[in-house]
Symmetry: C2
Subunit: 313 residues, 2 copies
């Protein structure tokens, strides 16, 4: 990485459509690393545009998406998956020949289906997905290091020039991310396992706790350090984004959910039958995956995630 | 809290039976806050005793539990729930009249059933459960601040003198914990919701990911930042401890699991039917619980838990 302003920008003008957690982090990361000459932004909601203006992570904030993308070398669609089609249709006539269009949606095949038909000849559409985030939403939640040491998946279509992919890849890497390429359906299956289904079961468990009459919400909250709070973080993510994820990655999510239920029933049966050996063996195997995640740098082994003040092992 | 050695110890001699994460954290916290005159320890495994001796968090380490508890004012059973009965039977003849016996098991009714019959007249058995922990096990994993701002539940039996409860409570508070009293069955239901069922679904999801042939383990590990890693932390906890939790809190866990499955099927159906409004409403409600946990100081709202190096909002 380079110091601010030191490098030659990878794109002269970048337009961000949608100014939430991901786009505002991209703007900050591009500025911090001198990756873009000019960052133009647009958000549908006037308050979001005002906050973005105040925070100053964009050079210009525009009232319409069509205005924001004019003359941009890179356009980033950072809106919920369900809104991609309308935005693509709106901006398509303004896209500059030779420009690259990407997105940051959590589902890829549905975005390809929604966006690709609108992309004019000579514009390179390279769908993408940064696997990074927090449970917070909105322009004030972004930070420049969000993508550091996280994976950014690109799912280019077959006819995309290698040059355009290399350039977008350089931008992602410039923000600190690692880049992998895969095809859209495989992306959607991988994410159904590593993200979509985990979010659904976390939402479900939090919902169960909320509905239970014999245990008060205040008890659930007070005693959450026993495991529950780990689920609540991901169950606090943006509702609109997650609604769209499940509506647009339906098949893969239902497939993985089916496997999850089968597996849960097997463990439930072991509990009912008192099969301690089965439980012990199962719980032993799952530790290896956790070790792999820490070795791969995707989490920390620090006690309690540094949640306990001043914790030292 | 007071500085090391400054306070009058709350108990003259404390014996810890089992020297894993919880007991070794207790030893460190008692030393750091001058809460015990002498800390005696015992672990079944010789290597654990050796590590404990090297780390020096106990004043003395004993080869047998019976030897460790001799003359102790407080005895803490910090072994898996399934091992409580045998340990109680072994130490019972050595317990000093007027001593307090407590435990740190994650299930309370089963511990009462296993231990109470062995407790001699004149010894005060006060079951307990500190809701604190990390995914790490063993004597090297403990740290003095583990209990700070965490809840320590005591589930005293009806005939326990108030004085004995007050003294144990002072010890827990001296280690930084907040103390609540409740009866054992309610404890087991609350923990089934806030800890046991969340752990089981986390184990299950990690198991599903491990078995899936079309997505490699290395993909699961690399792309885990999308939500999966939050589940793997709790699915890496001690297998013996968790086997015993599910075997001994069977009824409450199966009750909550049943509700979880019902709820999951309702969400699964909404996905299948494309009912976006139902999903959106559900995901919106669960955010409130998360806010409550942060307000109650049981988690942090820091972006990404401080996992992203140098993250600032």
């Amino acid at each position: 990485m380079t110091e601010a302003g030191q490098a030659t920008p990878i794109y002269g003008r970048v337009a961000l459509i949608g100014l939430g957690l991901i786009a505002s982090s991209m703007a900050r990361a591009m500025k911090a690393n001198g990756l873009a000459g000019h960052v133009a932004g647009h958000a549908k909601t006037p308050t979001t545009r005002e906050v973005a203006l105040e925070l100053g992570f964009c050079d210009t904030v525009h009232d319409t998406a069509a205005d924001a993308v004019r003359d941009a070398d890179l356009v980033v669609l950072a809106v919920p998956v369900g809104a991609m089609q309308a935005v693509a249709a709106e901006i398509a006539p303004q896209l500059k020949p030779g420009a690259t269009l990407t997105d940051v949606g959590s589902v890829k095949q549905a975005v390809v289906d929604a966006v690709a038909p609108h992309v004019p000849q000579g514009v390179h559409f390279i769908p993408g997905h940064p696997i990074a985030g927090t449970e917070h939403s909105g322009p004030q939640s972004g930070f420049a290091t969000l993508f550091e040491n996280r994976w950014w998946l690109l799912t280019p279509l077959p006819d995309t020039p290698a040059e355009a992919i290399t350039r977008l890849r350089a931008l992602c890497e410039g923000m600190g991310a690692n880049v992998d390429l895969m095809d859209p359906p495989h992306h959607d299956l991988v994410l159904a396992v590593t993200s979509h289904t985990p979010h659904l079961i976390a939402y479900t468990m939090v919902g169960v706790a909320e509905h239970l009459r014999r245990v008060s919400n205040s008890e659930v909250i007070k005693y959450s350090a026993g495991g529950f709070r780990d689920l609540t973080r991901i169950a606090a993510s943006d509702p609109t984004m997650w609604r769209d994820v499940f509506l647009t990655n339906k098949d893969a999510t239902l497939d993985i959910l089916g496997r999850f239920t089968e597996e849960l029933f097997a463990l439930q049966r072991a509990i009912r039958m008192g099969d301690g050996q089965m439980l012990f063996d199962y719980f032993t195997r799952t530790r290896a995956i956790r070790r792999g995640i820490i070795e791969a740098g995707q989490d920390t082994a620090a006690p309690d995630f540094g949640r306990a003040k001043g914790s030292t092992a």
